[in-house]
């Protein structure tokens, strides 16, 4: 078992037993569930919306080369720059060098999971550049020196008192009644200073639009707007898979993304940036750079079965519905992308060290049932398990166990004998009071649950003895 897997099991055990955490998450998710249902009722045909979004993404991904080139051409024609980054290091280097060469001392950032993925913050900070997270949730976890807890609501795990204390200790101002309105006003004041002082704004992109050469950034707070309006340089960094063919595609994608993410009809500020300020415009950045990040995504492209995983629009719905996520929380995953999509994606982007995430699921399929682009998430978890099981090394024990299992299942006599022995053996063991102890092979069951039932006769035996036959066909 990899050390990441061991840490996962330990953290999961702690978090899933934490009843305070369980209650916080339950309340948050209850409010999301209600909003989400209300949001869905605004659609005449929600399933049609999902299918349409799936089609749009499928078209984009299946012709990724064409659409990315179209996008690049247009951005350059508008006076912007496009940098193709093969991996995180290249992306960080480009942005860092750009900042240094332009004399940037302060950066304001709107939410971008990609910047977490490539650890951009530290890369900039080591050059003495101060980076301010401007999304309130991201700002909060940045102050706590923590990764985001959830891809859409980064500070979901904290209550107002904790945030009040955090602001008191880091911002030097106390809000005694911890009123959320006042806490937000304090954050607004502090971050305004940063917005107006920053020389560079970094954003992600929810979508990049090929026919317009534009980047689409959705925020409710307006931090995406300020980050891309006030500083003189705007850098947008995005995964290559975020491309969509046409501006009009947003007519379906925007409402579906908002409904899935928060239950809103549309995010408050649905922004489109197509370049640096044009002559005659009142304001805006002088420079516009788009960094297109690969970092393993082209690998998924070449995997016909898994390609649809690139359709993900990062709405967070699968995290919200997942009972595993609800119990262990976002930090336990210890990856940039959490929940079902994170479990499917991370082994492909970061290697087999994170394969345990594909197994940490009961395969309930709730994720697939809510995905707005119809990704068959739980089936992809099965595919990950299949691919991992036969990869060399890691799973030798499991392979051997199942080879033995197979022998029994292919031979009904062996199966009957094996089943009988298991029941008899456990019966004796449990009779001695050893259920749940180190001697119990099923202690991972019996420790916290009453032991499995151990009938004296299998159904097969009962049938043979004629206990259940009335109109049955005699063999």
């Amino acid at each position: 078992m990899s050390s990441a897997a061991q840490k996962f099991l330990q953290d999961a055990a702690v978090k899933s037993a934490d009843l305070v955490h369980r209650e916080i998450i339950r309340k948050n998710m209850e409010s999301y569930d209600a909003a989400h249902l209300r949001g869905r009722s605004r659609f005449k045909d929600w399933e049609a919306a999902r299918r349409r979004c799936q089609e749009i993404k499928r078209e984009a991904i299946n012709h990724l080369d064409r659409y990315l080139l179209q996008f690049e051409e247009k951005v350059i024609a508008h006076g912007g720059h496009v940098f193709w980054a093969a991996n995180g290091d290249e992306a960080c280097a480009y942005i860092r060098d750009l900042a240094v060469s332009r004399g940037v001392r302060t950066i304001v950032k709107s939410k971008s999971m990609v910047t977490e993925e490539i650890h951009l913050g530290p890369a900039l900070e080591e050059k003495g550049i101060k980076v301010w997270e401007t999304d309130l949730g991201e700002f909060i976890v940045q102050l706590r020196n923590e990764p985001p807890y959830h891809i859409v609501t980064p500070a979901m795990h904290l209550n107002r008192q904790q945030i009040r204390e955090l602001f008191r200790d880091h911002l030097g101002e106390d809000i005694p009644d911890a009123d959320p309105q006042k806490l937000v006003a304090l954050a607004r004041r502090k971050l305004r200073e940063a917005f107006f002082a920053a020389e560079m704004g970094i954003s992600g992109a929810n979508f990049i639009i090929a026919d317009s050469g534009a980047v689409a950034i959705s925020t409710n707070e307006g931090n995406g707007r300020l980050s891309t309006s006030l500083p003189r340089i705007h850098v947008a960094i995005t995964g290559i898979e975020k491309v969509i063919p046409r501006l009009v595609d947003l007519a379906t994608l925007w409402p579906t993304l908002a409904t899935s993410g928060t239950g809103q009809p549309i995010t408050t500020y649905s922004t489109l940036v197509s370049g640096p300020r044009k002559p005659g415009e009142a304001d805006g950045p002088e420079e516009f750079h788009v960094v297109l990040l690969d970092n393993g995504r082209s690998g998924l492209l070449g995997n016909a079965e898994e390609r649809e995983v690139l359709h993900c629009i990062r709405c967070g719905a699968c995290l919200n519905i997942c009972p595993v996520y609800r119990n262990i929380g976002g930090h336990t995953y210890n990856t940039t992308y959490q929940g079902p999509i994170g479990s499917v994606l991370t082994p492909h982007l970061r290697g087999s060290e994170f394969q345990h995430l594909s197994y940490a699921s009961s395969l309930c399929g709730a994720c697939t049932s809510v995905c707005p682009v119809n990704i068959n998430l739980h089936h992809h978890l099965l595919h990950n398990r299949r691919d991992f099981s036969y990869a060399s090394g890691d799973n030798a024990k499991g392979r051997t166990q199942f080879k033995l299992w197979r022998r029994a299942m292919l031979n009904s006599r062996l199966y009957v004998l094996g089943g009988w022995m298991m029941r008899r053996g456990l019966h004796v063991l449990y009779g001695l009071g050893l259920a749940g102890t180190a001697a119990d092979p099923l202690r991972a069951w019996s420790r916290k649950r009453t032991p499995i039932p151990l009938p004296s006769q299998s159904f097969r035996k009962m049938w043979k003895k004629g206990l259940t036959q009335k109109n049955a066909v005699k063999r």
């Binding site: 099965l382 299942m409 029941r423 991972a444 206990l467």
Partner: protein, 241 residues
């Protein structure tokens, strides 16, 4: 002319919860079916398949096809095992004539409530069960086989049965096969929340179409000494006054 039905008994029902299969036979006979049991059957292969060992699961699937080759109609008291056959066999046996066979086999394999309501068109099987019951929608049956109303229709047809709704009735109970032991803490936490939701209803029984879900929930209920008990849908339907 009685309907011939071949019983598909999941391996863990055979070994650990045989009463579910006994009651399934009772119900099927009561509605006029001729029930046959092929003793050569072992396991559908789901444990190996879900663990990713498809090369070990495939021979089980191929064997299953052989064992049930001549069965006209197959009925199974488990949503997850029925799903394995109908949804996953065609993916597991991806090509060749065996693939076609698997697709056809899937079309004539039914979960119990599905068979009663959708194939036989029956919702009243002549059962009596004067207790309060709450229903847990097992994941495979709900999301893979798309069985939403069928078990509920059957429950409403039972004399004396009072059906009460449970909050988050469609949330996973946390069993998930080997997940239950490999990720014990998460599985138990999920089971506890299911048990909490059962307790709120005040019901005497919680039922489902999947015996594995019930075994897991019973483990939690028993440990907490909760009032409610688990019972499989087949056992409710087999009950008489």
């Amino acid at each position: 002319m009685a309907r011939k039905v071949s019983l598909f008994v999941p391996c863990f029902v055979d070994q650990l919860q045989p009463e579910v299969a006994v009651d399934t036979v009772k119900v099927l006979q009561r509605v006029g079916c001729e029930v046959d049991y092929l003793p050569e059957q072992t396991c559908c292969g789901q444990p190996a398949f879900n663990s990713g060992f498809w090369n070990e699961a495939r021979p089980c699937a191929e064997r299953f096809l052989r064992v049930f080759k001549d069965a006209e109609v197959i009925v199974c008291p488990s949503g997850s095992c029925t799903t394995m056959v109908r949804v996953f066999y065609p993916e597991l046996i991806a090509s060749g004539s065996a693939h076609e066979e698997a697709v056809l086999l899937g079309k004539r394999t039914f979960e119990l409530s599905e068979f009663l309501v959708k194939v036989l068109g029956v919702t009243d099987v002549g059962a009596t069960f004067p207790h309060t019951v709450t229903y847990h929608a097992s994941c495979h049956g709900l999301r893979e086989l798309k069985l939403r109303e069928e078990p509920l229709k059957l429950l409403r047809g039972v004399k004396g049965l009072k059906l009460v709704d449970m909050l988050r009735f469609d949330e996973c109970c946390g069993f998930g096969g080997t997940f239950a032991t490999k990720f014990e803490s998460i599985s138990v936490a999920m089971g506890e929340q299911k048990a909490d939701n059962v307790a709120v209803t005040g019901a005497e029984y919680v039922t489902a179409i999947d015996p594995s879900c019930l075994m897991h929930v019973q483990g939690i209920l028993g440990r907490r000494k909760d009032r409610a008990k688990t019972i499989h849908l087949a056992s409710i339907l087999a009950s008489e006054a």
